[in-house]
């Protein structure tokens, strides 16, 4: 359902971020994208969300060639992707509820749909009681859970997580990982960039290792280094 086919990316400043990377991810898989910072993990995620175009090769999501999408079709693609960032990126002037509702408002969901769905999402991430709080009143873990609820708001098929536990302590990271597993068990495809080796070793899933822009390992049984 998601394929990288011989993808290379060279940025304008001649930095070669990705070199002939290929892999396929099936529906419902949970995949870690690991490797040192600057290895090309972020580039892969940016190519998936069509923020960047590859220099060569193809990216296919659900039979659509992402790198050939017209600008007006990119928005439609992104509605099928949920994105969670390391720095949460919640809107500080909006409440928890509003932050999640915002994602639905801007894709023109009806008021009824928003009122029905947002409480369910907040319940899923365990923040039903905090819906009137503002982001600065929440802990990092809670903020990331709001961000996760927002990423799930438009019912995407694929969840893209860019170092979702990078700013969190181990206990809180573990909470987020449990939530991601729960979502994955319900059928969500998850691609998670991380260099949290402990997490990768503890919660085993498929691991794709990227180093210097090359795919150096792709193991179904998981584990960070061995």
């Amino acid at each position: 359902m998601l394929t990288f086919d011989s993808v290379s990316k060279t940025y304008k400043n001649q930095v070669c971020a990705l070199d002939n990377v290929s892999f396929t991810i099936e529906r419902g898989e949970f995949v870690y994208l690991v490797g040192p910072s600057g290895a090309g993990k972020s580039t892969i995620l940016r190519l998936l969300t069509a923020e960047e175009k590859p220099t060569s090769g193809q990216i296919i999501i659900e039979n659509q060639v992402v790198n050939r999408l017209r600008r007006s079709r990119v928005a439609a693609l992104r509605r099928r992707l949920g994105v969670v960032f390391q720095d949460f990126r919640l809107l500080p002037q909006k409440t928890v509820y509003e932050n999640v509702a915002f994602a639905m408002q801007v894709v023109e969901a009806s008021g009824t749909a928003i009122r029905d769905r947002v409480p369910l999402l907040l319940e899923l991430v365990g923040l039903k009681d905090r819906h009137e709080s503002y982001p600065n009143q929440l802990s990092g873990g809670e903020q990331q859970r709001v961000a996760l609820a927002r990423a799930l708001a438009n019912d995407p098929g694929i969840l893209i997580c860019d170092e979702p536990t990078g700013n969190l302590d181990p206990a809180t990271s573990w909470e987020i990982m449990r939530l991601l597993s729960l979502v994955n068990e319900r059928g969500m495809t998850i691609i998670m960039a991380t260099h949290d080796s402990e997490m990768v070793n503890r919660m085993k899933h498929r691991v794709i290792v990227i180093e210097n822009g090359k795919k150096v390992r792709d193991r179904m049984e998981g584990g960070y280094l061995n």
Binding site: E51, R71, R150
Partner: protein, 295 residues
């Protein structure tokens, strides 16, 4: 587009305008001043144009008929002249009539002409009116070539001066409109850019959850257009007051000076300013959004 989406656009636009009240006020002020200057010059040139037309309409060409031209030829000439391009009307003035007119002009010294009735030294002539000042020269040249026309006279210098002046005014006008429009565009662009900048986080999130470019743009476009409309309307009001009073004053004090009527002219001008304001606001906002939408 759903009705509640449109409501959302307006809500967001007005929210931002309130948030940046001072900045919005300043840019409406600048837009307003620009539009007043613009409108003022438009009024001046349009009126000069109008006056020029008035004068042009009064320009006449006199074509003198050669002596010993037969009556049939004169009748033929009347026909030919009236069919020349640009000729509005033509009138034959016999030498008897010309003498009479001369007598009238001399007034009390009419006696000077005594005796000329029997041996009239004047020539028959045609009075030719052109439909516009620009055609006077061309008509005069054509008249000169007609058989039976001895001589042609018209206010050559006046005509040429008038044509040059109105053309220079039109060119100046176009430059002024272009210059002021660009300046206003930049002012609005910068104002909107501030609100775009204040909302850059939201824009980024909107992009990531798949909001369309137009959904993101509309609130900002509305802001720009509202600023433009506001500036144009207030400027239109000021110009209306000025012109209304000027018009009334001239009508009483200088009645022979032709000024453009308030309706429809001034109303059209205000409508055009508003349309211009909308266009400038729209493009200003489009331009200020560019970079932030490319995520």
């Amino acid at each position: 587009m759903r009705p509640h989406t449109i409501a959302y656009y307006f809500k967001e636009a007005i929210h931002d305008m309130r948030q940046n009240g001072a900045m919005m006020f300043a840019s409406v002020g600048i837009t307003l001043v620009m539009f007043i200057i613009l409108g003022f010059f438009l009024l001046v040139t349009a009126n000069l144009d109008y006056m020029a037309k008035d004068v042009e309409g009064k320009l006449e060409i006199t074509a003198y008929v050669s002596d010993q031209t037969s009556e049939e030829r004169i009748a033929g000439l009347t026909q030919e002249i009236s069919q020349l391009p640009g000729v509005k009307s033509v009138q034959f003035i016999s030498n008897t009539e010309a003498l009479q007119r001369l007598g009238e002009r001399l007034g009390s010294r009419k006696d000077l002409l005594a005796g000329y009735e029997k041996d009239n030294p004047l020539r028959h002539s045609f009075e030719v009116f052109s439909s516009s000042g620009e055609q006077v020269v061309g008509i005069a040249e054509r008249l000169q070539k007609l058989e039976g026309i001895a001589d042609v006279s018209y206010g050559r210098e006046e005509v040429e001066k008038l044509i040059r002046m109105t053309q220079a005014l039109r060119i100046g006008m176009v430059l002024l409109v272009a210059g002021l429009s660009v300046a206003t565009l930049f002012v609005l662009m910068n104002t909107i850019r501030l609100t775009v900048y204040a909302r850059r986080q939201e824009i980024q999130i909107m992009k990531f959850v798949g909001a369309s470019d137009w959904f993101i743009r509309w609130p900002f476009l509305l802001q720009g257009m509202l600023l433009g409309i506001l500036g144009a309307l207030v400027a239109g009001g000021v110009l209306f007051l000025i012109y209304f009073n000027l018009h009334n004053y001239v009508a009483v004090e200088i009645p022979f000076l032709p000024l453009l009527p308030i309706t429809p002219y001034l109303i059209q001008l205000i409508r055009n300013l508003v349309l211009g304001g909308i266009a400038i606001g729209f493009f200003g906002s489009m331009m200020s959004l560019g970079r932030y939408l490319n995520v």
